[in-house]
Amino acid sequence: MIPAVALVMGVVLGLVLHPTVPAGLQPYLPIAVVAALDAVFGAIRAQLDGIFDDRVFVVSFVSNVLVAALVVFLGDQLGVGGQLSTGVVVVLGIRIFTNTAAIRRHLFHA
């Protein structure tokens, strides 16, 4: 319950405070958000599978975000930032789809 409330609180805060994204963070924020979403869906699936671990979630969340940002950063340095961020989004998207499919099977048995 608390994590869901925290998520909603974060959304509300973001909408209310309406901060501007620092220019240096602008290429990484969308990728980081997608990576974090992937971690969250993975956590929900693990919870449903009964193998959820708080520490694993925290580590996977942080490392997901950091790795995604690092990959994009490296891509920018190498001149293939656009393509690499597309690749990261595709991979994470596939993972999110897989996780949601597993969640769906758990919840609806279908």
Partner: protein, 242 residues
Amino acid sequence: MSSLSRLLRPRARRVDVLVAALLALLGFALAVQVRSTQSDGLLTSARQEDLVQILDELNNRSDRLRQEVASLSATKQRLTTGSGASTAALAEARRRTQLLGVLAGTVAATGPGVLVRITDPKTQVSASVLLDALEELRNAGAEAVQLEGTASDGRVTAVRVVAQTALVDDRAGIVVDGVSLAAPYRFTVVGDPSTLAGAMAIPGGVEDAVRQQGGAAEVIRSQRVRVGALRPLTPPRYARPE
């Protein structure tokens, strides 16, 4: 369902606070990202090389447009000043042509002036008398002069009097610029009528001189006389405009 409820069940361990914080951060970042994508449109989410490309395109376009502006404004300036200047020059040239034409006798002139009719029953009025009359008229400000007389074929002929006009004595009268004329003579003069008439009437002047030769000089003032005789324009043989 039980596992999901366990996920949502309130707990208060330190790692749970961390999880909550991470999820709050995720929600925050999500909202901010969505908001900035919506409000800022394409440019903020565009990558550096895309931005560079967009900037290049914009620069090229502005360069092209600037060149277009420059060439168009040059054309405009050429058209306005050019046509204005050439129109003004044309008008000025026409005006000068008209003015010089009056002097050179190539255009007809009209205006206030006098008619001086000189009769010569005894054929005694010589070219010098007429020349005196002409000089007197010029001194009085005559601007355009023609001299009429009876030509050898009996018709009344008018000769435009200009700077080069020569008056030469002839058996039956005078020769003006190669045209033989006989009395009665008539000067048609454009100028100030009273000044011209006064010049004719001064004692010992034209009227007296004509009278001494047995003739008569009659001056008629008019508010509108017409000097219609023309003189062909002969280009100078040696003199060139500078």
